[in-house]
């Protein structure tokens, strides 16, 4: 790989059925590039949790994935309500998701902790009423 590869995705507003399509596409692309399965798993789990979060909390958003020789960078940005207390949101089990989301299998308060767990670097920039941008990197 000589040049960086950049991929962009739009995560649909409130369409829970389609959540995960971007992560699924990345999985196929990384596989075709010959990236190691354990690296692919880290990338797609982190990104999938992010996608789910965008659908649950932020009316969708945009994801940019950049692949270079040494790392995969995912930038997930939304214009949602922002995260009020990032320290609490990073705690396993803390969730502000509504009950109907729990009945769909999410909202266990594991989203952000899982994203941190599977990425080698994570940064969250958030502003109430403006939106959130999560940057995650997985080293190759």
């Amino acid at each position: 790989m000589t040049d960086a590869i950049k991929l962009e995705y739009t995560v649909c507003n409130d369409d829970f059925t389609r959540a995960g399509e971007a992560s699924s596409d990345i999985k196929d692309k990384l596989k075709k590039m010959g990236v190691a399965p354990e690296i692919i798993r880290k990338v797609v789990i982190a990104m999938y949790e992010g996608e789910i979060n965008m659908v649950i909390h932020a009316n969708g958003g945009k994801i940019t994935v950049t692949i270079t020789t040494d790392k995969i960078t995912m930038v997930l940005s939304d214009k949602g309500p922002g995260i009020e207390n990032i320290e609490l949101a990073m705690q396993e089990g803390y969730s502000t998701a509504p009950d109907n989301i729990r009945s769909l299998g999410f909202g266990a308060g594991m989203g952000l902790p899982n994203m941190k767990k599977y990425s080698d670097y994570m940064d969250v920039q958030t502003q109430l009423g403006t939106g959130t941008t999560v940057t995650m990197q997985v080293n190759l």
């Binding site: 829970f16 059925t17 995960g20 699924s24 399965p37 299998g105 999410f106 308060g109 767990k117």
Partner: protein, 116 residues
């Protein structure tokens, strides 16, 4: 243990991807919360769940899960099955309850895998 062994042990119906019944399963995960499933990577795992929506297939896809078993006789809708076919993940349905299904597979040697 193979997917076919799970089918026999749980007296389950195969809803799709019959071609993959000989795939080998080493570990199991029983949960209705997909984020809990996503928290622990296991190797060649079966996902046993009572949750019935397309995100179960997505979760299995991201985790490289070998096979999915829906308990309590649940049959997912066609969107969910179509997604499983697209991602080549065999889906089974058993009338066993979650606790029973997990107990049967555990007693036959499937483990919960290591925490990571």
């Amino acid at each position: 243990m193979t997917v076919n062994d799970i089918k026999e042990l749980l007296n389950a119906n195969v809803l799709c991807c019959e071609d993959y019944l000989s795939n080998v399963v080493h570990t199991a995960c029983g949960s209705d919360m997909m984020s809990d499933v996503l928290a622990f990577v296991k190797d060649q795992s079966v996902l046993i769940t009572g949750l019935c929506n397309p995100q179960v297939i997505r979760t299995a896809e991201m985790m490289d899960i070998t096979c999915i078993v829906f308990v309590r006789g649940k049959i997912p809708d066609s969107t969910t099955i179509d997604l499983a076919i697209e991602r080549n993940i065999p889906v089974l349905s058993t009338s066993r309850k979650m606790f029973e299904a997990c107990g049967i597979l555990y007693s036959k040697g499937l483990s919960g895998g290591k925490e990571n």
